[in-house]
Amino acid sequence: MAQPAPISASPVHLKLPLALYPADALLGAAYVLLDRCFVYLDEPETGRATVTLRAKPGAASTDVAGEFLNEALAQSWRRAILADNRASIEMISARAVSGAAGPPGLDDLLAMETSDQSAFDDPLGIAMSWEDKYKKKSEAAGEKGSKP
């Protein structure tokens, strides 16, 4: 680790409401700028954050302050979108994961219940043959037609 070099740039202080800029968004924005400036976050009064930015050599404090505000706004907005669409994102992710699981494997097939009682269960009647399904109707129709 290099020895801390002297700092000559004057700092920029920003006062931001935490209701608009959540703490996570400020931390995220500060993290993006760590290579260009020194950042110190404080909350001197409840709900109001102060951000102190001091540029490292080669950058201007006012420039990094502008970038910080833009980044903080973008991070806040992204978090709001994520919160609004969390249910949809989770549903799509769950479907994607279940779809990626593929067809059942041998273990799944072996675990399936295939006893005599359950093997021929047909609660929806889809295993019924065409003749069985329409026989009674046609017979009934024939009987109706034969009656005087």
Partner: protein, 75 residues
């Protein structure tokens, strides 16, 4: 001596301890967890403000990395 308050709203206590250990060779770093505050006194020949700022950046970076926050915006 420079004092910095690393409030739990933003900073993790473990990150403060880690930063104090990293920058201990350059000065006296007093960590007051009750504050929570850190008092930085630089060794002779070391810029005290630079040491305090470097320490604050380290605490912030360690906090974000510990949280696993998606701080880095995709390019």
């Amino acid at each position: 001596m420079i004092e910095r308050r690393f409030r739990p709203t933003f900073y993790a206590a473990a990150a403060v301890d880690a930063a104090a250990a990293v920058y201990a060779p350059y000065g006296t770093i007093e960590v007051d967890h009750a504050g929570p505050a850190v008092r930085v006194t630089a060794n002779a020949g070391i810029d005290e403000l630079a040491l305090a700022d470097e320490l604050a950046n380290y605490v912030l970076g360690a906090t974000v990395e510990a949280r696993g926050a998606d701080a880095e915006r995709p390019a």
